[in-house]
Structures are given as C-alpha cells and as structure tokens.
Symmetry: C2
Subunit: 412 residues, 2 copies
C-alpha cells in the first residue's frame, strides 16, 4: 500500500470542500451537476514524484505516475498496459501547418485504441481497491470499450448501457471483451438514466466520466506523459478535441499538478477543438459564456455531445491556461485526418483528426503563432471508425493488370 | 553508422551462399522460389548485444535490437514506434486452457495495428539506407497498411497493389496514409505479378515478404522482445498463426539468433496454427511433407494463403524447434477471439485469434502438456476486422428503459 496523497474534494460549482474518502461522486449539495475536483497534497507528492525517481521507474505505463492518482495500490503488473504512448516529433506536418515545431501524441496506441483507457484503467483499479466486482457506464464509444477491456483483464464484470441506435461495429469490441451490454430502447438520455438507476440499485462502480471525479484524474496522465517525454519542457500549446469536457479538464489538471510540484514551470495554452456541427463550448466562448444545448450534427461521434456533462472543468481548462476554443467543419476533419496520415503515418478517428484541422485553423486565424510549439493529441485510432475514414478518401479506379494500363491510369 | 553484422546470404532451396551486399532478393540460381536467409556474424553480435547493454538501452522499440538487423543506421528517433508491445502474463486464460502458465504477446499494439509493422519498419529503414524513394508491395491487408504507414512517417512514397475485390474498409487505412493504391482488375496472382513487373521497371524497393529476406529479419524482433520480456527464460512453447510462412520463419530466426549469441539456452517449440479452411502446411505435415495448393476458405483472411510463398522457412521453423502444426475451424477461431477478450482484455483479429484456439486444441490433443508454459502471439488488433468480430458475438435484444424491464431481460 502506498501513501495516498488525495486530501479532499472541492465542488466545481459551489466551491464547497469535503474530506477525501475515496467514495464521493458528485457534490451532496449541488447534486448531479456538482462535479467534484480531487485535491492533492502537493508537498507530499513533491518528494514522491521527482524527475530522478521517474527516470529510474521501470513501469512504462500510466501507473508510473501513481502518486498523482487516487489509488493506494502500488502493483500494476496485472493491468493492461495503458499509456506510455508515443510522442512523435513531427517529421513533416509542421511545415504544412505553417509552424516551426509540432509534436504528435498518439493515444490511439492504447490497448483498446483510445485515450479513454486511461480513465478506465484508473476506474478499474479504484473499483478493485474499494471491493467492487462490477463496473458500469453508459456510452456507445471509446469509454465503453475501454471499460469493458480493462475490466476483463482484471476479472471484473462490466455492464455497458448503449442506446439501441448504436452501430453494430461499436458493439463488437464490447461483446468480445465479455461485457454485459444493455441495448436501451430509447435515446442517449434514457440510456444514461437507466444506467444511473441500475448503478444505484445494484451498487456497481460508476464509470460515467461526467459523474465520477476519478476519471478526470486518469485522463490527466496523458499530460504527465507529454511533459516527461518532452523532458519537462512543454510546448507552448497542447491541442485536443472536446466533447463532454472530461478529457480537456483532465489535461489541464495534469499540467497544473506538474506546475504545483515544480516539475514544469508553466501550463501550456490549451486549444479546445470542436466540430462546427456540435460546438456548444465554442458558441459559449464566443458569446456570453453561457452553455446552450447544441445539435449533434457531425461525423466525429466521439465529440458529438450537445449537452456536455463536464462544462466547468472544460471551460476552466481553456480559461486558466490562457488557451483558445476553435471549431472546424466535418470536411476540415476529413482533410485533417489525411494530412496527419500522409505526413506522419498516424491514423486518427474523426474526433482525433479534428485536432489537426483545429491547429491548422488556429494558425490561419493568428491564434497560434508560427514560432510557437504545439502538441497535437490524437485521442483515438482511425481503426475505431473505418466507415468515416472511407469518406475522407477516393476509392481507386480498377486498372488492368499490365504495365501499359498502369502507366495510362495516372495513378502513379 | 554502426558496424554491420550481416555477412552473407544462403539460399533456402539450393543452399548456395553469397556474400552480403544489402541488395539481393532471391537466389540468382533458383529464381523467385529461392528465398534467401541472411547470415550473421554471431561472434561480433555477442559483444554488441549483451543483456547489460539491452538493460541500459533507452530505445523502447524494435530498433533496440539493431545489431541483429540488416541495417547500418543507428538513429531511429524519426520512425514510428514499432515493437516493444506488451507481453502479458495471463491472469485467467491459462486455467481455461488447462495450462499452468500462459503469456500473451499483444502485437496488435503496433502503430498500424499488426506485427507486420516490424517488417515494414525495417523495410523502410533499409530502403532509405539504399537511397530508394518509393517502396511497393502487393497485399490487401496488414502488410499493405504497415508499409503505407511506416513509409508515410519517413517521407517515402508507397505504392500498394491490391486485387479489385479487396474490401473498401481495408483500403481506407492505406489511402489515409497517402499510399498510391493500384486496384488491379484480376485475382491475387495477377496483382502480385503486376507489382513484380512494376517494381522491376521503376526500380522501387520491394517489400514483398515472400521475396525480400529483410522482411523476415524485421519480424524476428517479436521473438527477441518476448525473450527479453521473459528475462531470457523463454516459455516451452510459442504459438503463432501461419499464412505465407514469413512470420513463423522470422520467429524461429529470432530465437535461433538469441541461442547462437548465448542470450537464451534453447529455442522454444513453435506451434504453427492454421485455419482448417486453408491449411496447406498442416496437410503437408500430416501427409507426405509435400505442399499442395489449398483452398482459401476461412474468415481469417490474414492467413488465408493457399499457396504460401515462404514454405521452406515455415516448415523449418516447426521442424527445427521440435514444434507442431495444428488447424482449427472458423468457429473455433471466433470462440478463441471471445475467450481471449473475455479473460485477458485482448481483442484479436481472426488470424490472431486462431492462436488461442490452436493452443486450446493442442492441449486437448496432448501436444502441449499442462505443465508446459506457452506464449500466445496475437499478431493483429481486432479493430482490423470488426465485421468478422460481429460474427463471434450475439447482438443484445433491446430493453425498455426501466429497471423492471432490465431485470426481466435476463441480460444481467
């Protein structure tokens, strides 16, 4: 058992603080919208997580940052290897984006194919520490598959609630991992509400990221990794796509934690990227700051969230980091997917590809300057959504099997 | 420039030896079927690749084994991070397989989603060292996407020849990576022949694994990693699926190399797994040893190879390692996929899942004994072929959004 450095919770809405007990979800006073922040003993972490200790740490997974996680466990050898994904210095894309220096964090490299593995791995570990045997969430996408995969590896049951309209392809991965999949005859809201009621009734572990503050802490490990992989000299900007707001909130938390314990000297500016077809945060930021429900009209399904469940953490991330919000069209997203694939060999799903498009737009708009360095986070593998990738490309015209036909085809 | 430890080529058919020049493909005397082995100066490698040097090596990719690769380059920082994939000690599956000890090597964790990245990364590096600007192959699957992705990252053009019938989903990844895709109006043989003629005419680098001996050497790095991750105490068995025969041939080469330089004391027995719907090697091994063209009637498309191009290396791998051949049905493959997913959280494509099924069968047949340890290699991510994964699972029946309906549904 390691020393635990979590000391409390603070409600992101009313600001009230509560002592840490490892079990609170939302604020007892504000209800479901009162999402909590976990508070840490940074003085204690300062000596537990030094550059030297990290350099000597042979755990090449997100669990190398255990002192900054709400976990008591110290042995993570039995878990899937989540995190420690590659950070590539761009070979080519920076010049096409009009920038001097770009890095790409390929989080599609995670065991189930997305950054969500970071939240699910911590959730499973936290569930096990607290003697749960079942973990549940409502999701059609990466959160669900990561929950099912990480739970399977650790012998924990998973129950996943999906709306009936969820595409079959998204279900295959869940079902192969052995999850109990509840296909709800209703929309996403009905699905979420049934999951909430069932979780309450059966006492399962709640992996809904817009409820459980532990999830954000798992996601923040991508920021910790980026900083360590850059030898603690973080880029001027870090760009990521935003749906519910939990991931961008986690990224800010990660950099803030590192600044608090003195491992980095500043928090990078965070560029929050949404799709024009569903961009409640961008609308709020360019308007009166109030979040209004938006339509969900984009092919980037992982960020198609009209009513984000974690608005406070998301808005804070951009505001406190002195970052910016930007929205891009579905066409820009498909172009961004091809640009990143063609120049760097990284295949992103549409939500992840929106970041490349967003950085391009931000450079054109003068938000990011040529001399500023940028880290692009690709949150999910393109293999997660081959159907939409097909929309980005042109199927080749068949060619007769002769050199003459090949030369005449214009393909080369 | 590092010292190069390649000293020659040896034809796997006629046995004739040739000095190493970095450029030979097949045997000049035997023609296209005369696939070559690369020969190494093991004495030199013994001092270049010690346990101590590896323990201190901070390159966490397949290139940490550079002295055993046919490359002069020493700086691999600009490449995709291929290799260093997780080796999991089984938490649960060993007991379901009736074994005491099982490990799972998840090579679906590679940048483009399969073990083939190992061959393509070496191919791209070898191409660059030899001043090629274009790399080409004929394939519909993992070889193609890995070639395209690794080439894109290094700014090398890729030309991929695919038969016209190739499913669109398989093309999306190639096209996103910016490959020139030649869709050939003809079968696989016509596609291969056009690629061969075009490669000869335009002087491109040849990434066809059944021709270029460098590919096998890239693939062998999975064996080197397994051994290092097991702290040089290799399991009794290593199980892998077999199509063309290049991968299993590489795995044998890797273990043989390690034995030659004294890093391990024995080569594990290799279990070669095929699908009953296409198992020319199994038929040959249980018959008179002669390879006869087989039908290609299996959903495991990555190993659906009726006329394997690398039979000598494949047959040698099993024979010299004192291993065994086994074939499993498509239904067994789908069951194997679910078994590995449910017990260990690893999602394999059908060809990779055949290995789990093959090990299960081999235990039942008494080929593998309960007390023998086994490493299962999962060669590709399940996300590569979601369509077939759907055949393994049962789509849940929709449930009304009430607790009562959920309880009555029998899902939980």
């Amino acid at each position: 058992m390691k020393k635990m450095f979590c000391i409390g919770y603070k409600c992101t809405l009313c600001g009230k603080e509560f002592p840490y007990n490892g079990k609170m979800l939302t604020c007892p006073e504000c209800g479901e919208k009162g999402i909590l922040d976990i508070q840490f003993d940074y003085q204690g972490i300062k000596s537990a997580l030094t550059r030297e200790k990290l350099a000597a740490n042979k755990n090449f997974s997100m669990f190398r940052y255990a002192p900054l996680l709400p976990l008591r466990n110290t042995d993570f050898g039995r878990y899937l290897r989540v995190g420690y994904t590659p950070l590539y210095k761009a070979n080519l894309i920076h010049s096409e984006l009009g920038l001097d220096s770009v890095y790409i964090k390929d989080d599609g490299h995670n065991p189930t194919g997305s950054l969500k593995d970071r939240a699910s791995a911590v959730a499973v570990a936290h569930a096990i520490e607290n003697d749960y045997t079942t973990i549940a969430c409502s999701s059609t996408g990466n959160a669900a598959s990561s929950c099912a995969g990480n739970a399977a590896r650790m012998g924990i049951k998973s129950v996943i609630f999906v709306p009936q309209r969820a595409p079959e392809g998204k279900l295959a991965q869940l079902l192969v991992y052995g999850a109990k999949v509840v296909s709800v005859a209703g929309d996403y809201r009905a699905t979420f509400e049934l999951s909430r009621d069932a979780i309450a009734k059966y006492g399962w572990y709640n992996r809904n990221a817009g409820i459980n503050p532990v999830m954000t802490e798992g996601k923040k490990t991508v920021a910790l990794e980026i900083a360590e992989q850059l030898d603690w000299n973080v880029t001027d900007w870090v760009a990521v796509s935003v749906g519910d707001g939990c991931t961008v909130g986690g990224i800010y938390n990660g950099f803030r934690d590192l600044k608090e314990i003195g491992l980095i000297d500043r928090v990078p500016k965070i560029l929050g990227v949404q799709s024009l077809g569903c961009c409640p945060f961008v609308t709020a930021a360019t308007g009166d700051g109030k979040l209004v429900p938006a339509e969900e009209n984009t092919l980037a399904d992982s960020i198609a969230v009209g009513i984000p469940r974690n608005p406070v953490k998301a808005l804070r991330a951009i505001r406190e980091s002195h970052g910016a919000w930007i929205a891009v069209s579905d066409n820009d997203i498909l172009e961004g997917m091809k640009l990143l694939g063609r120049t760097e060999g990284v295949f992103s799903e549409p939500a992840a590809a929106s970041v490349t498009a967003g950085v391009k737009q931000a450079v054109q708009d003068g938000i990011i300057k040529k001399s500023e360095s940028v880290t692009i986070i690709s949150t999910g593998s393109g293999l997660k959504d081959v159907k939409n990738a097909l929309k980005a490309v042109t199927r080749p015209v068949p060619c007769e099997p002769t050199i003459e036909a090949l030369e005449a085809s214009g393909i080369l």
